[in-house]
């Protein structure tokens, strides 16, 4: 009797309870710590890229006024409208004119470090607006990569000294370089741009979308709505699930061995890259498409069948429109993954140096992630900031795509 009345909350018990509660708190803190670590790494990564990348959208430039009335260029608008106007201007001595005025303004040392192809910028401005030939115009010309490095406090001591003195005289400054979004790859970090790679990525993504989306949706419809339960269907399901987990580099080997064997002349063409990525994206679309189709309630199908629709009509008139937002969400997520993919494209040769934006689906191209990889391999320090800037461009596109997917999911998702 007395045993039962003995207090349960003995000192021993209280001590044990305290220990258990302490363990509870520690465990909870560990969980919170894990989350904070992951989010912290993400934040650190984005901040690092952002901080470096700001420099990538800028470049060191020098102001050079050119008095064209003294330069003796024939400013005939008819000649300047010709496609070979740049060559004409070169023959008329534009490069040496630019050098001359640069030397007058910046001194011999400074002029030696104007980017070698700076006169092309001048030529482009003249062709755009021949009227400037009648007066004096000031051009902001890019400095050489060495001088730009000097301005950033890197490179040789002489360069740093020269850059500092030019900057103090107000002759050398860091300016916003929006041309980065319009140019293509180059060997000089001052001259590179992202447009070539971006256009290559877009062409590749168009091919991927055109191939993976119809095939993926049709396969999902077949497997979810029509396929009989038999060995063939199982085989298809197993291969789709496995393809979704196969490392992306294996798809690159497939593209190399099969597509480049069929089309040997199309190394590094967006067509081949898009086909390779389509094979990789298709399983993702099939899997998300099946989930979306599964979510359409059977009553819809039964209702349509009851009023006399054929099985094909049921699917194409009722199930597919209702499942489409879900399918599109999955497609966008799959496309975002394909956009960031690098390894399979390296395999099929999309790592060539491509200095002009691709014209069509069969001309040599590179894509954004591969461009990032190529620039990250460059020894010149100027490429570090450019690489981060390219990463920012890529991440912006990925965020836009994922944002669109989330919007579609929230806007059109129905709870039945």
């Amino acid at each position: 009797m007395s045993d039962r009345l003995a207090p349960t909350r003995t000192a021993e018990f209280e001590a044990r309870l305290k220990k258990r509660y302490a363990a509870e708190r520690r465990f909870k803190m560990a969980g919170l710590g894990a989350i904070l670590f992951s989010v912290g790494v993400l934040a650190f990564l984005l901040v690092t890229m952002g901080f470096n990348g700001i420099g990538g959208f800028q470049r060191a430039e020098m102001n050079v006024p050119i008095d064209f009335t003294q330069a003796g260029l024939s400013g005939d608008p008819a000649v300047l409208a010709q496609p070979d106007a740049v060559q004409t201007l070169e023959a008329q001595g534009l490069p040496s004119i630019v050098d001359f005025y640069a030397e007058q303004k910046l001194g011999a040392e400074g002029a030696a470090h104007i980017s070698a192809s700076a006169w092309r910028l001048v030529a482009d401005r003249i062709i755009d607006d021949p009227a400037i030939l009648r007066g004096t115009a000031t051009f902001s010309l890019p400095a050489s990569a060495k001088l730009a490095a000097g301005l950033n406090g890197e490179g040789s001591p002489e360069m740093r000294a020269l850059a500092t003195s030019l900057a103090q005289q107000g002759k050398l400054e860091t300016k916003l370089d929006l041309g980065f979004l319009e140019r293509a790859d180059a060997t000089d970090p001052q001259q590179v741009g992202i447009w070539g790679a971006l256009k290559g990525s877009m062409l590749t993504m168009i091919v991927t979308l055109l191939m993976a989306f119809p095939i993926g949706v049709m396969a999902a419809l077949y497997l979810e709505e029509y396929a009989a339960k038999n060995r063939w269907t199982d085989l298809i399901e197993v291969s789709i699930n496995n393809l979704a987990a196969v490392p992306s580099i294996i798809f690159g080997l497939l593209g190399l061995a099969v597509f480049l064997w069929i089309f040997p002349n199309m190394r590094s063409a967006p067509l081949i890259g898009g086909m390779t990525l389509a094979l990789m994206t298709m399983p993702v679309i099939v899997i998300s498409g099946r989930n979306a189709i599964k979510a359409v309630p059977p009553s819809i199908r039964d209702g349509a069948l009851a009023v006399g629709a054929s099985p094909v009509q049921v699917v194409f008139h009722h199930v597919l429109p209702l499942a489409l937002p879900g399918i599109l969400t999955g497609t966008i997520i799959g496309m975002a993954r394909a956009l960031g993919e690098t390894a399979p494209l390296l395999m099929i040769g999309m790592r060539a140096f491509v200095a002009t934006p691709p014209q069509d689906f069969t001309s040599p191209a590179t894509v954004l992630p591969v461009q990032i990889f190529l620039w990250s391999d460059e020894i010149d320090r100027g490429f570090v900031e450019r690489t981060s800037a390219a990463i920012i461009v890529l991440l912006v596109f990925l965020l836009l795509m994922n944002g669109l997917a989330i919007y579609l999911r929230n806007r059109f998702e129905k709870k039945w």
Binding site: R20, E24, K28, G31, A34, I35, S38, L42, L45, T48, M49, P214, M218, A219, L221, Y222, L223, Y226, A227, I236, S239, N242, L243, A245, V246, P247, S248, I249, I250, L253, L254, L256, F263, N265, M282, S310, P311, V312, F316, A336, R337, L339, G340, T342, M347, D360, T362, P369, V370, I372, F373, S376, S388, I391, L394, L395, L398, L399, N402, I406
Partner: protein, 461 residues
């Protein structure tokens, strides 16, 4: 360029057939006694359109493969091609230069020898383009006319169109099997060629890796093709270092998110983890090479390890682990959510604290699912390419020191196939053998993991 034009042509012809057939079906409907025909006009339209588009697409696909070969054959048969170098790289370079000038993608040739070939190329390209367009038109017209003539008031167009649609759907789902088959066949084929030059025993059990793509391809040195250091590097980076980071962090994140976090926090953290999962691997690779690897080297110097390399297995493994966290977290999330609520309630009712419930009831009950998730995570980590290419280094070291450079299977695949070696060289072919090993291992891991998950789900249903 030409295939794109043919595609547009095919779709335009299909549209024309669609409109014509629909108009004809409408007239049937108007003329019929009761205003009814065997199928709606739109099905007649689709019937004709399918008959036009499908054969034309088949032809365009085939033509885009054979036309370039026909063009080069006719150019090689031209008199201008007689003084080309007989074989090899130079000949291909000249031909491809002439082709790019003739097709308009380049303005002028560098190599004088290509100049004479530009005209034959231009002539051949325009000739075969014309043939392609004409053949497309003829095929479209014949197939369309045949289909159009079959349209009658009592023609059951709908059942035929639906049968065709079902066939197309079935073919689309077979693409997955074809892809798998393509992967297996191409890998096996090249692997067999490789094993014809280097013994499989040397490859699988040798401990020295250092193929020389410039050596004589006919007498490869088998002792330089030992892949054990690559397998070791892959496992050490992907399955050891990365998992030491990813398993505890991913598991604890999932536990906190599902058991402790309030809905507001969850609403913000889940998308953040999704962003972490969506960051391209090349960005992680750059982060590893630019930020993490130098930091690790400096830290090693600070504690007195002077031989730390700037490319280390540790840097690649750590960043890879971070990359895998969201994956492990979402798999653990699913498995914990699959444990019946009654088990959790029972444990709490007995007086266990939340953490005791999690550690002693939920996690053990969810363990098969978590293990399967970890296996999938490992299979993803060992197939990961860009992080190791950018941060792990090329030296095939068989060591346990995480501060040394190590190389992996994926790194060597990239290195062997992006080098200058020819396609018949064992060094290049070894990439396919490595790819085959990687494919089989990831396949095995996925297969086992999916079975475990399936059985585990059934246990609670």
């Amino acid at each position: 360029m030409s295939p794109a034009i043919l595609l547009v042509l095919a779709l335009g012809l299909g549209l024309a057939g669609w409109l014509a057939a629909r108009a004809r079906a409408w007239t049937f409907r108007r003329d019929s006694a009761n205003g009814r025909i065997a199928a709606l006009p739109v099905y007649h339209a689709w019937y004709v359109a399918l008959w036009i588009v499908v054969p034309v697409l088949l032809f365009v696909g085939l033509w885009s493969v054979i036309a370039p070969q026909l063009i080069s054959q006719s150019v090689l048969a031209s008199p201008a091609a007689s003084d080309l170098p007989a074989f090899g790289f130079q000949r291909d370079a000249i031909l491809s230069e002439a082709r790019s000038v003739a097709s308009g993608s380049a303005k002028a040739v560098f190599n004088e020898a290509a100049n004479g070939l530009v005209e034959p190329y231009r002539a051949a390209i325009s000739r075969y383009n014309l043939i392609g367009v004409l053949a497309t038109l003829i095929i479209a017209f014949l197939a369309g006319a045949w289909a159009f003539l079959r349209i009658k008031p009592d023609f059951t167009a709908r059942t035929r169109v639906e049968k065709a649609v079902m066939t197309i759907l079935l073919l689309a789902s077979l693409v997955a099997i074809l892809t798998t088959l393509g992967i297996v066949v191409s890998l096996v084929f090249e692997t067999i060629r490789f094993f014809g030059m280097v013994s499989p025993l040397d490859f699988l059990f040798g401990t020295q890796w250092g193929p020389d793509p410039m050596s004589n391809p006919n007498s490869p040195d088998g002792s330089r093709y030992g892949a054990i250091p690559l397998f070791w590097g892959t496992i050490y980076i992907g399955a050891v270092i990365a998992m030491i980071v990813a398993i505890p962090l991913g598991l604890m994140s999932a536990i906190y998110l599902t058991q402790y976090a309030n809905p507001t926090l969850r609403k913000w953290i889940k998308p953040a983890l999704e962003v972490l999962a969506g960051v391209p691997t090349v960005v992680y690779g750059y982060f590893a090479a630019l930020t993490v690897a130098p930091a690790i080297r400096d830290a090693a110097f600070a504690v007195g390890i002077t031989n730390a390399s700037s490319e280390s297995a540790l840097a690649a493994g750590l960043v890879m682990g971070v990359m895998i966290i969201p994956f492990v977290s979402s798999m653990a999330d699913d498995s914990i959510a699959a444990v019946p609520q009654a088990m959790r309630d029972g444990s709490l009712a007995m007086g266990a604290t939340t953490s005791e419930t999690i550690r002693k009831v939920l996690v053990p009950a969810a363990l098969p699912g978590i293990v399967a998730g970890v296996m999938l995570a490992v299979s993803r980590a060992i197939g990961e390419t860009m992080i190791v290419v950018m941060a792990a280094g090329a030296a095939a070291n068989l060591t346990g020191n995480p501060l040394e450079a190590m190389t992996t299977v994926t790194f060597q695949i990239v290195a062997m196939l992006t080098g200058e070696g020819s396609f018949d060289h064992p060094a290049t072919l070894s990439a396919f053998a490595l790819g085959f090993v990687l494919f089989m291992v990831t396949l095995g891991l996925n297969f086992i993991a999916l079975r475990v998950v399936k059985r585990f789900r059934e246990a609670y249903e």
